[in-house]
């Protein structure tokens, strides 16, 4: 009975499966079906991705010339604050939660998440704090202008003097986002630990589930720090306490510790599931088992552990003493070992395979190569002397956009294309998909590569104006940015039109191995008529062995009939 969700099986067995467009209205209800919630998360996050992307276009418009001319400086500062906040709290986290919600129960052979109602509550908080964030554009004084780090004392300055101001709304939204993410994390971790199908030991579980679990554990230990920091800052701002305000004897650097103790590991909350996506996709499209499956799986948890002891690398130029700088330099660099293991394993998986370069595979390959690049600039940033120079310059902006756009967002596109037939029951259009890939790949590199030389030359980040010596690189970056904006058009066109009128998808269009591919596309409400018993490791490409007992029995039957 471990496999029945706590809410017990929903009575109405004929409830429509999530993909069918005729029943679009149920995406607007308080549904407890993990598949509906997954799609709700993904679509909501994508809407905010478009808004955040639009803000980025305006920023790149401002930065195409050295002077601050397109928008006022206060507006520019609000734009990068909201862009960063939307992209992190409204795009990366929710879209990953959506993918995890959709896939984890299917991949481990469960009928739903452990706590379906909690799941729905966690999701519905997302549009709520999204609206709170966007509402800050309407209050006097405008949205927060202190950047997504919200370092005091700047974040405490409140020039309008109003109690309800953009910074306060920002802090409320971030705290709510923390609450929602903790709910999600409790649910996902419990589901993975308690609801795996019979026979699915941890070492028979797909790597995506491993990485999701590793990522959500970070949320559990990290988010309390961020939420505490945000609440303390809110008190300083609204009630006049003095945790972080140096004018009243507070310590602004203490806030930085609270903030980064969570926000560094947060990058692994973002990247680990994408590592999972790469680990799922390469075997399918290279037709080979995942190389070193167990090591790849376990290294996720090594990353989780290490991610908790590196946060000071964001504070190398703060008032951090030398010994701390050296200590955290070393811990940071060690993360490259488990990460390197994963990358090499993916390369070895691809090597000598029979590659099918469809849209999903192209995005996965592109995302992985850009991740390698980001990893190398990341090690440079870990080295304190180099970081002292490039910290808070465009070099950092280039580095983290290679992570966030180049790998996370590209990896997410790979996942969306790959599982689109499963989610919607329709095939996407390859031509449009490949067009999307080419535009996005060129756009990403054109946008973010030039930021590295600009940063090395000494262009600070978060500037509305800059010295003319940096103009050349910024023009290139802006063109790349606009190209990225354009690249979302074929994606939207593709998703909408193929969901409405695409060719019907079979259960397993990619001939992939995995429980989610053994049910119909889209899956029935309860996922599995009969919970399968898993008898093999997840990536048996080329081995011709059954994944589940039922499948073995069927194959047995088929072969005896032939004989």
């Amino acid at each position: 009975m471990t496999n029945i969700s706590i809410d017990a099986l929903a009575p109405e067995r004929q409830e429509p499966s999530p993909g069918e467009p005729e029943n679009w209205w149920r995406f607007f209800t308080f549904s407890t079906d993990h598949k509906v919630i997954g799609i709700q998360y993904i679509v909501t996050a994508f809407v905010f991705f478009l808004i955040g992307g639009f803000l980025a276009m305006v920023m790149r418009g401002e930065l195409i010339t050295p002077e601050a001319d397109l928008v006022d400086r206060t507006v520019y500062n609000a734009l990068f604050t909201m862009h960063g906040t939307l992209m992190l709290f409204m795009w990366t986290f929710p879209v990953l939660n959506g993918l995890s919600n959709y896939l984890v129960p299917l991949q481990i052979g469960a009928r739903d998440m452990a706590f379906p109602r909690l799941n729905a509550v966690a999701f519905w908080l997302v549009p709520i704090f999204g609206v709170i964030l966007m509402a800050s554009f309407l209050v006097p004084g405008g949205p927060s202008q202190s950047g997504w780090w919200a370092y005091p004392p700047v974040s405490l300055q409140n020039p309008t003097g109003n109690l309800i101001n953009g910074q306060a709304l920002w802090l409320v939204a971030v705290a709510l986002s923390g609450v929602s993410s903790i709910m999600g994390a409790v649910n996902i971790v419990t589901t993975i630990v308690r609801m795996r199908a019979p026979g699915m030991t941890f070492f028979k579980m797909p790597v995506f589930c491993w990485t999701v679990m590793a990522a959500q554990i970070i949320q559990l230990f990290g988010l309390p720090a961020l939420t505490a920091g945000a609440v303390m800052l809110l008190f300083d701002l609204m009630v006049g306490t003095s945790f972080f305000d140096p004018a009243k004897g507070g310590d602004p650097v203490l806030y930085q510790h609270f903030f980064w103790f969570y926000s560094h590991p947060a990058v692994y909350v973002i990247m680990l599931p994408i590592f999972g996506v790469f680990s799922e996709l390469f075997p399918v499209y290279a037709r080979k088992p995942l190389f070193g499956y167990k090591v790849v799986a376990v290294s996720s948890f090594i990353i989780t552990g290490l991610s908790g002891i590196v946060w000071v690398h964001h504070m190398f130029a703060s008032g951090t003493p030398g010994w701390m700088r050296m200590l955290f330099m070393f811990t940071t660099m060690t993360i490259s070992v488990p990460t390197g293991i994963k990358v090499f394993a993916w390369v070895a998986t691809i090597w000598g395979g029979k590659l099918k370069l469809n849209t999903a595979m192209l995005f996965a390959l592109g995302g992985m190569t850009m991740f390698v690049f980001a990893g190398i600039t990341g090690i440079m940033l870990a080295s304190t002397p180099v970081d002292i120079h490039v910290n808070n310059t465009y070099f950092v902006v280039g580095h983290f956009h290679y992570v966030l756009y180049g790998s996370m967002t590209m990896g997410m596109f790979a996942a969306l294309y790959h599982w689109f037939p499963k989610m919607t029951g329709r095939m996407y259009y390859e031509g449009l998909g490949k067009l999307h890939f080419v535009l996005a790949f060129v756009g990403t590199n054109l946008n973010f590569l030039p930021m590295h030389p600009a940063g090395l030359m000494g262009m600070p980040r978060r500037v509305a104006s800059y010295d003319p010596e940096f103009a050349f690189w910024n023009v290139l970056a802006s063109l790349g940015g606009f190209l990225l904006g354009v690249s979302t058009l074929p994606f939207l066109l593709n998703m909408i039109s193929s969901w409405v009128q695409g060719e019907k998808a079979p259960a397993n269009p990619w001939r992939a191995i995995g429980l989610e591919w053994m049910v119909a596309s889209p899956p029935p409400h309860e996922n599995f008529d009969e919970i399968p018993t898993v008898i093999a490791e997840p990536y048996g490409y080329g081995k011709n062995e059954p994944l589940t007992a039922q499948q073995a029995a069927l194959q047995q039957l088929a072969s005896t009939e032939v004989a």
Partner: protein, 305 residues
């Protein structure tokens, strides 16, 4: 492994090494000319890391591109690839290589950081290292005339959004930072309001300025010229405009400058953010949202340009 494979791998490794060494040299040109002793050290380290990074990047991405080009399944080929699930030797090797590289890079970075000693020799006591290395790098860099001198002490006051420099010995205030060449400089960084960042890209040095704290910060300019000091820690509305010129001159010219400045009467210094604030309409008529008003110009002996 047969001989042909070994030869092939060796050839690939050789080509990769050549490309990497070349990139390591090119890396110097991405940075502004090094104008401080610290910059020379940082650039060397950056070059080393660029070379290692190039090797890894080309190795990994080259392999992937090769696969994507030459190992594609035929159009109707539905068969699977070889079911290789792992290879212990390979996995040990590619775990060991990053470990060795990490130790190498960390050790090199540690050495460079130690030689820079930008936070002053004090920290070496905390770090349990001998005083000997703590001596400013002048000796290592071969600057005999100034090796024995005390560092030149200058106060840096940051406020939204202007830099002010005070030379206590000559009692000179300026909005342009003048520094003697080849002499250890010791800045006392203070802020009156929010965090600011003291950053001179040509020197590769950066330090946050933290309100309520007095931070000592050291470096040694080695190249005469005019450079830019920029605010590197976001400090609010006019953050981007919070810049100042840095002039490195010969010790004689520097003394001359101090002497002349000391005799000049005080006048309002450079303050681009305040000027822009006034120009765009001051408190009530500015476009955009309300801002903390910029501090008025400090009174200085030397304004700069």
């Amino acid at each position: 492994m047969n001989l042909r494979l070994i030869l092939k791998l060796a050839a690939v490794a050789g080509i990769l090494t050549a490309i990497s060494l070349w990139m390591g040299q090119v890396a110097y040109s991405w940075l502004p000319p090094p104008a401080s002793a610290e910059a020379v050290l940082v650039d060397g380290l950056f070059s080393l890391m660029t070379a290692i990074g190039t090797f890894i990047f080309c190795g990994v991405v080259g392999t992937v591109i090769y696969s994507a080009l030459f190992q594609r399944a035929g159009k109707y080929d539905e068969s699977d690839g070889p079911p290789i699930e792992g290879n212990l030797t390979l996995e040990v090797v590619w775990t060991a290589i990053p470990i060795v590289l990490v130790i190498w890079i960390a050790a090199a970075s540690y050495r460079v950081y130690d030689q820079m000693s930008i936070l002053g020799p004090m920290e070496h006591i905390h770090m349990g290292m001998g005083e000997a290395i703590a001596a400013p790098m002048d000796m290592a860099q071969g600057m005999p005339e100034t090796a024995g001198l005390e560092p030149e002490a200058i106060e840096v006051h940051a406020r939204q959004w202007v830099w002010e420099f005070y030379y206590p010995e000559a009692n000179v205030t300026s909005t342009e930072l003048h520094l003697p060449k080849d002499r250890r400089i010791k800045l006392a960084l203070t802020s009156e309001d929010v965090l600011h960042g003291f950053y001179i890209p040509a020197f590769r040095v950066k330090q946050d300025v933290i309100p309520g704290r007095d931070i000592d910060f050291e470096f040694t300019p080695i190249l005469e010229g005019k450079y830019r000091l920029r605010d590197s820690q976001y400090s609010g509305t006019y953050f981007a405009a919070m810049q100042a010129d840095v002039v490195v001159e010969s010790p004689d010219a520097y003394q001359q400058w101090l002497a002349t400045a000391a005799k000049s009467p005080l006048k309002p210094g450079l303050n681009p953010s305040y000027d822009e604030y006034q120009r765009t309409g001051g408190d009530d008529h500015r476009p955009g949202w309300k801002t903390v008003p910029p501090a008025p110009a400090p009174m200085v002996n030397y304004v700069g340009s």
